[in-house]
């Protein structure tokens, strides 16, 4: 125990912290510029000078650690004089343009000058001038205002790991510049904007549009872009969203955001938003009244149910919609007598989680994000976390900086500079490498941990390839595999980060479970959409009821059905891709799509579109006119994330509150669904989102008794206040070819998950489009020169399924013979080029037909 005295107040501390932190924790404010809670200490601004007894000179509180018996004074005549001088020096070159500076009102310099400020400057020479950096579409730099606290640089290199900016020049002439010149060429996370204490680096999105004190409301909500579920504050002025900002220490993101979250919000105010319900008349979608549209949907669905049975109806739930929306939606579909309900979570998330839970126990993916940064080793399989879940990626980079071993299997260019080793087998041969790793680890550990008997029995009969065999099959070095296995086996705390591709493939998912078991590792399942976990928990699965209860258990099914006042059919429904197949063969006649765009987001676009066209009746509920909505018979406009109340469940299985910040006319997804439900004769008496939460808390054993107050009060971690489903161990069989690497050679087509885009929403965001405006074909320099292609050339990419003409972009982050195409831009998606096969267990579509030919145009 350390006892110190600050301003005559005795403070007891458990461990040595800096004077600044000790003071802050006890409500004593010490002014500072360069110190920031998540950045490393620097001690450069000299604003936090304090007097310490028995020390001859003033000390910087941010770098001075407390010692027992220390006596500190934070305010005195001497200190004020010193601080005033610091401010006077800063103001030699800092312009006095507060009236137009967007930072005014939340500017630290402004506040401190008001507090200590000199009334006059004694410096006679003219100020150094820098023209404003207006060449970047998102970030505007005003280097006249910079006070050289280097917070942005320390954020960029120390936390974000992008190292895109640095201080250039010396002395008076120093300024913060991106390495790429006037325009940024970085991850556009914008975390430098958060930490800038003055107005030197600011967002261009809301430039000059409001002053900080004109904000009428600040609402804490959750980011609508990916499954990390970053907490953010939405600032609203007069019912218009001005900007979103993170808050230090709040949520899993701890004050960080990525480019999508920070700059992507403008889609809310897009002019392309759907406003009126549309009904197809004479082959054209025409505006209709809500009454007419809802009546049409209800009566057509009832007709189809009566004529072809409930099984002819299918529903695709939305991973962008809240838990409340999805709960109401699955109730509607089940109320129509069908279990054909699935969602985009089928693309790898739901299946992977099922296998992990089946092999390791329930709730195995409920792991707090902060655990990654504290790991000794991180293994990344099946995706690039710094592009899919950027903030999760930052946590891995932080772990690497702390000395953790980071190993990636497959392409992960975002971790290129932050990994110990990157193994790059054939995209379909992740399993071989993992098999090799497992057998090498087992050789190293000599015995299995014991504890999970059935799993251990399974491991013994797995026919794992030896490290040498695996290395040979994947053209890697056996030594590498051996060394990495040693590193993993030696680590005391391991995290495994699993992407969609690895989760969807049952073999990889099983091997991940085995690795997790033998290394006692935490599993982090990447989630590309904000509420994939919510879809699973709310029962938007063909074989699951809310709360993760299997449909097959009769007692639970009856109980659930009784509380809804319906008979839930006992047969399991069709999964996502099976629904599409059934639609094309005529088995499914009507489909209700909520907040999803299957015509674009599902593989084999052409056939999917064809199947949707064959439907007798298609209802699409969305906020934009998507490819699917254009084919629909009825289009229902919904509300966006900032316009509704509800909850999202993130990849950590944490339920977080979404709060309504702006109100526009229209109906929330759950309200539309409830209106349809009422017309069909279902009991859906919901007045507000909280009513649905009440029903969920009653019906779902996992969410038993959960209220919004609990969620906001921090009672939001799995298994909440309820009971998880137990006793459902299941061990699928490994496929016969799990450990064989495909022999095929040549260029391989890969799905790019771009950092700047995520699908329907990001497409309509002008800021994201300005930094990534079009679909490109990414090639490694070697591949491009082999094909005689240069940056900016157009190339025709052809597969068996079709061809696309794309602009070539040479990307030095890509290794090996791979061509990357994203699936984000209309008419130019990768899924129009590839086919798929269904995994027999997870039922996820696995990409097939990666062989491509590229011709210069």
């Amino acid at each position: 125990m350390i006892t110190i005295t600050i301003n005559n107040k005795e403070i007891r501390l458990e461990r040595p912290v800096t004077v600044l932190e000790a003071a802050k924790a006890n409500g004593i404010k010490i002014p500072h510029f360069c110190h920031h809670g998540i950045l490393e200490q620097w001690g450069g601004c000299r604003m936090c000078l304090v007097e310490v007894e028995k020390m001859p000179r003033l000390q910087t509180a941010c770098t001075l650690f407390v010692t027992d018996g220390m006596v500190v004074m934070t305010e005195s005549e001497t200190i004020s004089n010193a601080r005033r001088s610091v401010l006077e020096f800063i103001l030699i070159n800092h312009p006095l343009d507060c009236p137009v500076c967007d930072k005014a009102g939340e500017c630290k310099l402004q506040d401190y000058v008001m507090q200590y400020g000199p009334t006059a400057g004694r410096f006679k020479e003219p100020k150094i001038r820098h023209p404003e950096g207006l060449n970047d579409p998102l970030i505007v730099r005003n280097q006249e205002r910079c006070i050289m606290c280097t917070r942005c640089v320390r954020m960029c290199s120390g936390i974000q790991g992008a190292s895109a900016i640095a201080v250039t020049n010396r002395g008076n002439h120093s300024s913060m510049e991106p390495f790429s010149g006037e325009r940024f060429d970085c991850e556009y996370c914008g975390n430098c904007l958060t930490v800038c204490p003055v107005g030197a680096i600011m967002s261009r999105l809301h430039r000059y549009s409001y002053r900080s004190w004109q904000v009428t409301d600040e609402i804490q909500t959750v980011c609508p872009f990916c499954g990390v579920g970053c907490t953010m504050i939405a600032q609203v002025r007069d019912n218009a969203l001005m900007r979103v900002v993170p808050k230090l220490g709040l949520g899993s993101n701890k004050g960080l955001l990525c480019n999508r979250g920070r700059f992507g919000y403008e889609y809310v105010g897009s002019g392309e938003r759907l406003k009126n319900p549309l009904i197809k008349k004479n082959g054209k979608l025409q505006p209709a009244s809500w009454e007419e549209a809802l009546d049409t949907v209800a009566s057509r669905l009832k007709d189809i149910k009566n004529s072809s049975g409930g099984n002819a109806i299918a529903g695709i739930a939305g991973a962008r919609c809240t838990n409340e929306d999805n709960y109401a939606f699955q109730k509607l579909i089940r109320g129509l007598g069908s279990n054909n309900i699935d969602s985009i979570a089928r693309m790898g998330f739901a299946g992977g989680q099922r296998i992990f839970e089946g092999m390791l126990g329930p709730g195995v993916t409920s792991t707090p994000l902060s655990g990654i940064a504290d790991s000794d080793a991180v293994l990344v399989v099946g995706g690039d976390p710094s592009e899919v879940n950027p903030v999760l990626g930052v946590h891995i980079r932080m772990a690497f900086k702390k000395g953790a071993k980071v190993i990636t299997i497959g392409h992960a260019p975002g971790l290129g500079r932050h990994r110990t080793a990157g193994l790059l087998p054939h995209p379909q041969a992740d399993g071989v490498v993992m098999g090799g790793l497992i057998s090498a680890i087992l050789k190293d550990k000599k015995s299995l941990p014991g504890g999970n008997r059935p799993l251990e029995e399974k491991i013994t009969v797995m026919h794992l390839p030896s490290a040498d065999d695996a290395a040979a099959a994947c053209k890697l070095s056996a030594e590498d595999i051996g060394r990495l296995a040693k590193q993993l086996a030696g680590a005391s705390s391991v995290s495994i980060v699993v992407g969609r591709e690895a989760g969807g493939n049952k073999d990889t998912a099983m091997l991940v479970s085995v690795l997790s078991y033998i290394l006692n590792a935490r599993i982090y399942l990447m989630s590309e959409r904000p509420n994939e976990q919510g879809l699973v928990d709310m029962g938007c699965l063909p074989d699951m009821l809310p709360g993760g209860r299997p449909l097959a258990e009769e007692g639970l099914r009856k109980k659930c059905g009784a509380s809804w006042g319906i008979d839930i059919p006992a047969d399991e429904g069709l999964t996502l891709m099976e629904m599409i197949q059934a639609a094309s063969s005529g088995g499914i006649k009507a489909m209700y799509v909520m907040g999803e765009n299957p015509a674009f987001n599902l593989p084999d676009t052409k056939n999917t579109e064809e199947a949707l066209r064959r439907l007798d009746f298609l209802v699409v509920q969305d906020i934009f006119m998507t490819e699917t909505a254009r084919m629909a018979d009825v289009v229902l406009p919904a509300l966006s994330w900032i316009e509704k109340d509800g909850t999202y469940t993130n990849a950590e299985r944490k339920i977080q509150r979404l709060k309504k910040a702006i109100s526009i006319t229209g109906m929330e997804d759950w309200k539309i669904v409830a209106e349809v439900g009422k017309r069909i004769g279902l009991k859906m008496p919901y007045g507000k989102a909280a009513d649905i939460m009440k029903e969920i808390a009653r019906v779902s054993p996992l969410h038993a008794g959960l209220t919004y107050a609990d969620i906001e009060g921090g009672d939001n971690l799995w298994p909440y206040k309820g009971e998880p489903h137990k006793n459902w161990f299941s061990f699928p069989e490994l496929s016969a070819d799990a450990f064989t690497s495909p022999a095929e050679e040549g260029l391989c087509l890969m799905l790019e998950k771009p950092l700047f885009h995520s699908g329907t929403l990001s497409r309509k965001s002008p800021a994201l489009n300005s930094i990534s405006p079009e679909a490109v074909l990414r090639l490694s320099p070697a591949t491009a020169s082999g094909l005689n292609l240069k940056d900016g050339d157009f190339a025709k990419v052809s597969t068996e399924k079709g061809s696309l003409s794309l602009k070539v972009k040479i990307d030095r982050g890509i290794d090996g013979p791979a061509a990357f195409v994203s699936n984000n831009f209309e008419g130019r998606g990768l899924f129009s080029l590839t086919g798929y096969r269904l995994d027999p267990v997870t039922k996820s579509p696995l990409t097939e037909g990666r062989q491509i030919s590229i011709e210069k145009e």
Binding site: P95, V100, Y208, Q214
Partner: protein, 182 residues
């Protein structure tokens, strides 16, 4: 006491005193102004109808849309919506004052760092509709041209409100941190 009271009662001294004042006033000139026909000249610094200062050099408003007038306004009747202009400078897209709520305290004039808003000496603007008493940017700039253009406007700032930015003016328009001279 009794005697004095009796004298007062008998001789109506108080009435005579009153009548003396009446006769005196009758002979002095009248103070009542025949208002609509005869206008009252506003005193210097009178706080009447608002106007946005038009810069004679550019013909545009001087306002930089800092919002300090709206922030200080005790009755919160100033609405400013700013944006980035084509020259990347900040400007007020909408500058509106609700006259029916204004209390004519002139805090806005005092707060303005660049001397962009004034209260003119014009006071005759009653109307039957609220719309007519809702000032937009165009109306406010027209007010300046109508009531304050020329030397009158220049005089106004010299005499009354001294924009704070003038104290700090250094070189090529860049405000400088310097003590007020003199």
């Amino acid at each position: 006491m009794e005697f004095k009271k009796i004298i007062k009662t008998i001789f109506f001294t108080e009435i005579l005193k009153g009548m003396a004042l009446t006769f005196k006033s009758m002979l002095s000139p009248a103070v009542t102004r025949q208002y609509p026909e005869e206008k009252h000249p506003a005193m210097p610094g009178f706080r009447g109808l608002h106007a946005l200062v038009v810069d004679p050099a550019t013909g545009k408003e001087k306002c930089i849309a800092c919002g300090l007038c709206a922030a200080i306004c005790p009755s919160q009747c100033i609405y400013i919506y700013s944006t980035e202009g084509p020259d990347n400078k900040k400007f007020a897209e909408r500058y509106e004052i609700e006259l029916t709520r204004c209390i004519y305290c002139a805090f806005c004039v005092e707060a303005c760092p660049v001397g962009a808003i004034v209260l003119t000496e014009h006071y005759e603007y009653t109307d039957y509709s609220r719309e007519a008493l809702y000032m937009t940017k165009e109306k406010l700039m027209a007010n300046w041209n109508k009531y304050m253009a020329g030397p009158k406007g220049e005089e106004y700032f010299k005499k009354f409100w001294h924009p704070t930015a003038d104290d700090y003016r250094a070189y090529d328009g860049q405000p400088m941190f310097r003590k007020r001279e003199g």
